[in-house]
Symmetry: C2
Subunit: 351 residues, 2 copies
DNA sequence: CTTGATGCCTAAACCGGTTCAGGCATCCGC
DNA sequence: GCGGATGCCTGAACCGGTTTAGGCATCAAG
């Protein structure tokens, strides 16, 4: 009978009950010992641990999830057109940063890519009712963002990537991007540019409008007026259109500050196509310092973001929030300008 | 007492037991009715469903996971340097395609980004012992890929992206990329190029070596010898290096076929930096048709991949495999050449 | 009128953990 | 020597589903 049982056991999962029987204690005590909780004699605890190790016991995530009402996973919902998404390396790096924190803790990342905001809200609701995640990262903050209220109503622990423009019950992990934009403007002004334009991101998105404000402020501070601004939706196509419009004017700007690298790269492409030399005829700066920035010609002068670091910080903050119930805002070091070849002195032939 | 219970119930989850009590049947029968299983009278079934709807019952994924030993999630493990990963829009589009299948089914995608292969294998093991996923997508197939055996040993349902070079127990969802490379070579040969080089991807990766073979075959078929080949690791940096080496030769090629768009874009950058005009002095083709390809200058002639479609197909196949225990290989339409401005007739000044 | 099959349903075990009430010693102070 | 606190441990309930064994009618076949 026993040998039969043994051979059966081989194919079955080792449970906490097996450990308890083998160690001669109760199931409950095994659970206590395994979770480092007080109320277990030191000697008993080591014996239980030894037995568990010998038996090759592994906790069942599923059972743990059910009884502890946790899921040991974090969620990230991305609402973007897949086409646009692909060109933006932000998320892959961000996720890689998140993983460096999650993996050692045995936590998983649940990722959703959805087409629009309505679906996104629905996805959050599903994640909660399914108990799929213990918390989420909220990215791509928008002006008057409906998702904040939605997540607050759902009671889902959340960390926002950036500080919302509205009262938010959630900790924010932010990186100051206005500084980098200001630096770009100062850099260009210092090179002698006076007609500097800005290809802004979407004004509906917080980082879009913030960068745009930073641009205007910096222009004024430099005594260069408000500067021409073209608003886009952050897509490459829109960036290219904006560049075409700016450069086709009777008196085009001598420098363009783009709100993102993909748009800036498209801008360089448009300039070249129009026969406008970069940086001789027009200087161009970007934002993000994506890998391509180094490898196109001329290499892109841009503001270096650090999505990997951001991911780490956000993950650490979210874990803290989940475990302790509260977490402080985190401010990452401001993004700095990386000077390369796409920005130079303005053309001398200016009247 | 009842009103007290009612108010308590408000804050608690509606369980299958509540439905059973309200409908005047047993828990088991409710489960049967909810899962469309035979053995429930039609009238009883509708009554149970109505009660469940009225009570706002939602199945507990966690409880379902525990008892049914499924996790209702699929996994994707990506082993790449995050830096390299960011420039490659493949995965984001692929994931978006996967999501279109998963979301309506109420399934989730668990994503891992790991730094190296050893960690990747460990991640698969963890996913299995944790019962975190019901199946995985295996991407970036390598020559003599150790992961196949690992996944087979783990008994984890898997779909491979592409057909492995070894016996594999898993269904493969493939797209023929050799055709596109051949088309590229024929296109260039047709334009009059005779010295065509290939910047290959990693020879350790299946799609790298396959494209390289396709290049060589196509060259021979066109009567142009083997063609010069430089192997890389698919990184942008390596692509740039390769282009620099090729173009700095005494007799540089008049056309370069790159194994990926990011490398091709870097190649165009290098050419411009060296004062080599594209396409006048050197023609360049890529592979993938990433969004940037359209927006750089000159616009990239490249082979159009369809990662979104691939994601959909892979997800459908994996679901089929999980549900029925087997699935057939799927062959997606071959990737086709997209002709843009980066490839043109070779320079006439050739001796 | 039995026998057996079939259809509908119940009760209870089960998945594998967590948690809580309480039992029994032991040790403390008074 | 006694009441109470403390430490260690057990047993059982619990999380919320799925699944199986079996009970009871009903109905067709023999």
């Amino acid at each position: 009978m026993q040998s039969t049982q043994d051979s059966i056991k081989n194919s079955a999962r080792v449970t906490i009950a097996d450990v308890a029987r083998e160690a001669g204690v109760s199931k409950g005590l095994v659970s206590f010992a395994l979770n480092d909780r007080p109320g277990v004699a030191a000697e008993t605890r080591t014996r239980i641990l030894k037995v568990a190790g010998a038996l090759g016991w592994t906790p069942s995530l599923r059972a743990r999830s059910l009884s502890s009402k946790r899921s040991f996973a974090l969620g990230l919902v991305i609402a973007r057109d897949p086409e646009v998404l692909g060109s933006d390396p932000f998320f892959t790096s961000f996720i890689a940063g998140v993983e460096t924190v999650l993996a050692p803790e045995g936590l998983a990342l649940v990722l959703s890519v959805v087409p629009d905001e309505e679906t996104e809200l629905q996805t959050y609701r599903t994640l909660v009712t399914d108990g799929r995640v213990d918390g989420v990262f909220l990215s791509d903050l928008r002006i008057d963002d409906a998702r904040i209220q939605c997540l607050a109503d759902l009671g889902l622990p959340t960390v926002t990537l950036g500080r919302p423009d509205q009262p938010s019950p959630f900790p924010a992990v932010s990186i100051d991007d206005t500084h980098g934009i200001a630096e770009s403007v100062r850099h260009l002004a210092g090179l002698g540019h006076r007609r500097i334009a800005h290809v802004a991101g979407s004004p509906a998105m917080l980082h879009g409008s913030r960068r745009q404000d930073a641009f205007t402020s910096a222009m004024r501070a430099a005594g260069l007026g408000d500067g021409q601004v073209v608003e886009t939706d952050f897509s490459i196509a829109a960036g290219a259109d904006a560049a075409r419009r700016l450069l086709s004017q009777p008196q085009p700007p001598t420098a363009i500050v783009f709100a993102s690298d993909p748009m800036a790269i498209a801008g360089i492409g448009v300039a070249q196509e129009l026969g406008v030399r970069v940086p001789e005829d027009v200087s161009i700066t970007g934002f993000d310092d994506i890998e391509f920035a180094r490898y196109i010609y001329p290499a892109l002068t841009t503001v270096g973001a650090t999505p990997l670091v951001w991911g780490r910080a956000a993950a650490i903050t979210l874990l803290g929030l989940i475990r302790t119930g509260s977490a402080d805002d985190v401010d990452l070091p401001a993004a700095r300008l990386v000077i390369r070849g796409s920005a130079s002195v303005p053309p001398p032939t200016e009247h």
